[in-house]
Symmetry: C2
Subunit: 342 residues, 2 copies
Amino acid sequence: MTDIGSDRVERRRRATSVEVARLAGVSQSAVSRCFTVGASIAPDTREKVMTAARALGYRPNVLARGLVGSRTDLVGVVVGNLDTPFEAFLFDRLTDALAAIGKKPLVVRSDPAGDVARPLLAALDYQVDGVVVLAGGVTRATVDSAKLLGVPLILYGFVTTADLVDCVCCDNAAGARLVADALLASRYRRAAYVTGRSSAFSEGERRAAFLDRMARGGRPVVRVVEGDYSHAGGMRAGLALLSAAARPDAVFCGNDATAFGVIDAARRRLGLRVPEDVAVIGFDDVPMAAWPGYDLTTVRNPVDAIVATVRDMLARRLADAGEPYVVHRTTPTLVRRGSAAV
Amino acid sequence: MTDIGSDRVERRRRATSVEVARLAGVSQSAVSRCFTVGASIAPDTREKVMTAARALGYRPNVLARGLVGSRTDLVGVVVGNLDTPFEAFLFDRLTDALAAIGKKPLVVRSDPAGDVARPLLAALDYQVDGVVVLAGGVTRATVDSAKLLGVPLILYGFVTTADLVDCVCCDNAAGARLVADALLASRYRRAAYVTGRSSAFSEGERRAAFLDRMARGGRPVVRVVEGDYSHAGGMRAGLALLSAAARPDAVFCGNDATAFGVIDAARRRLGLRVPEDVAVIGFDDVPMAAWPGYDLTTVRNPVDAIVATVRDMLARRLADAGEPYVVHRTTPTLVRRGSAAV
DNA sequence: CTGAAAGCGCTTACAG
DNA sequence: CTGAAAGCGCTTACAG
């Protein structure tokens, strides 16, 4: 480390509304009104206040404001890992959308086990206006603790029967059926499935719908291998699947990261051609899926639609807490690229 | 949307310390002490308070606590885009590290122009204990506004002479020299460079050091093409570079995403072999660089070391605001993989 | 439109 | 160890 100086700076307090009031020659209430939208204040009073505020570098203390009871403009965002492409992409867009409606994301990480209760409570301690959960499920008890405080709770990627939360979730079954139908209409005959994390809500829906549709279509899935939504898991599954004697000629994966792993296993480890020897299909359509290196055929999980829905749900519930609770399913589409001849 | 119910829940207030005190039959001060580490309280008083607190589901209101003046445990994190692999990876690890020292990240996005002043002020409105800037540079005025409030400011990826901030930054020049030296010792003769975003601090250092070292080594860089740290920018640069008559046989890129783009251009668009026809080298060593699909030789920008340093700097400055300001350079290493025969 | 006053839920000296 | 009281910086009725 290199020391580049040590001049101490006086720790100066922020200016307060009382100080601004004194300088402007008005009451403290008047200062407050100047910074409250819709409050009635005379033009020249406002002028005096604003001049004084500028001179002192005054900005209202949001904590004090929040304490009085109105809004904090804080929104808790509960997330698990962010180093996975889809989650990072979703989080990026979500924070943008929240900023657009004047909300600041307070990030609380769910622990590895996916427990959402503790981070949720942590967010509530900060009097957040609402909470968006991007990771994992919630229990009834967790939901209740939030609802009892009147804090809107919005879940992504998880649908619960507890009618006290709003949910946004991809129609996973529809997405899986799109893939099944494309495969059934193709030259591929032996399809396999690589799962996501088995505890994930989406996984159950995707798997069940895919297996069911393939069976009904007369080409039941020949093998199901465990994945974990990671590239490494996809590699392992791909190696197991494609080095077997009777290998599948098509692999549908629980998400894109898994599909990238399967492609790498096929091409780089086993010398197979994609899509000639084996088709690989993912789920999510992360930006990387469009890169020529993978050129992945995949189900688009529409992030922009998801984020817009979350934002609107939050805004609506902030405006009227009494609206009926809603489950919104976003509609997936199949994006055909080079990794599967479908 | 499907309506799944509409039973309204009473918006019940959180329990306050006064209510807990009443139930426990003690003073409100006693309740407060039970939730203040190191405060003196009799064991059986604590017992009574805790029982009452549990019964009422009491948790201290952090906003009120923050208002009184101690800590909020909020740390502002200023970030630009998070949908790029390195930033997402860094952000993921940083939020983990902050959580480990009991801090909650308040995320404020810098605007596209990279302006850090506005988001910084927004964070300060919440009385954050400190601010970590992951994106872009800061001006002297911005630094001052934070310092005058006594709020520690830690910059990643940017080194300033303003001696009022702590900086953590990869030794970009050293990293670029590692690449140059590896190329000078190799069979590659015609090296090119694809830049990052020209406004970025890191870009200037990487470029200058690479060009200088190659020139001194007797194999001056044959061409410099503009990139923007994105995969798409890398593709464009790669196409321009590698479809030219006298193409380079080695390409060093401003970051990994750019390198992935160059590799995709070479292999998928131009049918060139990497590393036989052209070597491609990146900077950062994002997790994806190790995937067999790219198997990228790159300079490791040590995220864990960066994050640990940021965390320690913050903790130290929170403990003693008077410490000398510091610029910490993390040491990069060259990770040799399959994309370059060096 | 404006100001005096109460109050949000805590922490922190200050006596005891 | 404990309680009464002041005060953090605001917003919001309430009079005027």
